[in-house]
Symmetry: C2
Subunit: 180 residues, 2 copies
């Protein structure tokens, strides 16, 4: 039996919205509306992407594992949905929406009362093949972290020139953008 990671997963998932809110709410557009060039994402785009995951990815996939097992593959995740869904919204609106959806999803997740045997149940990812519910929930948490990692990098990029020669010492400015 694999380790039951659920308490750690819940503990992390519960904290991400408030942490991003504290970092980003009422920041000047300088930090939140600029990207790393080309078609990379702004901080605003990333929050829209996190919202889309709350709506369509994590809990729907968890329920599909519990209901259909490996018989049905997950819907692929639309990585550009936020371009439509965030349109006309402000960053504070997106932060509120993310926090509300996350809280609702964690309430629903806790209500499932998952036991060790449930966490080992299997589903089918359209590209990765067989995965377990435990892996899905752990991925939800690390997906938060990958986007915290990306947000710190996108923000740092805006100051690449401002730091002058210190550029050489600041690891975040050397990150190769493996985070999307």
């Amino acid at each position: 039996m694999a380790t039951n990671h659920l308490p750690h997963t819940l503990s992390l998932l519960a904290r991400t919205p408030a942490s991003l809110d504290a970092l980003l709410r009422d920041q000047p557009d300088f930090w939140t509306q600029h990207n790393e060039g080309g078609d990379t994402w702004t901080v605003f785009d990333v929050i829209g992407h996190l919202i889309h995951g709350e709506r369509t990815d994590w809990m729907p996939r968890a329920k599909m594992i519990l209901e259909s097992g490996e018989s049905r593959a997950f819907e692929p995740f639309d990585r550009l949905a936020q371009n439509r869904e965030s349109r006309g919204k402000s960053l504070p609106q997106l932060l509120d929406e993310f926090a509300r959806l996350r809280a609702e999803n964690l309430t629903a997740l806790r209500a499932l009362n998952l036991r060790d045997a449930d966490l080992e149940r299997r589903g089918r990812h359209p590209a990765l093949g067989v995965v377990t519910l435990s892996e899905l929930l752990a991925t939800w948490a690390v997906h938060d972290l990958t986007h915290v990692h990306q947000i710190s990098r996108v923000m740092a990029h805006q100051y690449e020139r401002a730091v002058g020669p210190w550029r050489a010492y600041l690891g975040v400015l050397k990150c190769a953008g493996h985070s999307e």
Copy 2:
């Protein structure tokens, strides 16, 4: 005349402590007391390092630029100080200390009433040579981001196996550790 980045710098520096507090306070040790192997840092170590910077690095260097210009090189930054200074403390104590020192430093920084010409004043870094006050303050902000970036990576590392095959999709797990 370079852009005056001070308002953006202040806006970021003011938010980091609350953002890290929301992410980390009362997390299980699983997330905060494990590193990436060898002599890499835990999240606990990183907060101690941020505290040491507040005490000895950023504002003392800013004052040295204003008082001594290029005539005197900065003290080198002790990157291992937290091993002594954090001993016997809890993570909530460190988060409180970081927030208090940061608030005090920002009060002191605002009280300097820096003007554009002040921001162009020069100091001497022991390894990098001539730097400006503007670059120092921008580096203070990106130093926060580099450690947010590191914290997200160190936490994600704890789940490297838990995510199973999703490992391939999660950029933070591929980050080469350029963040210290």
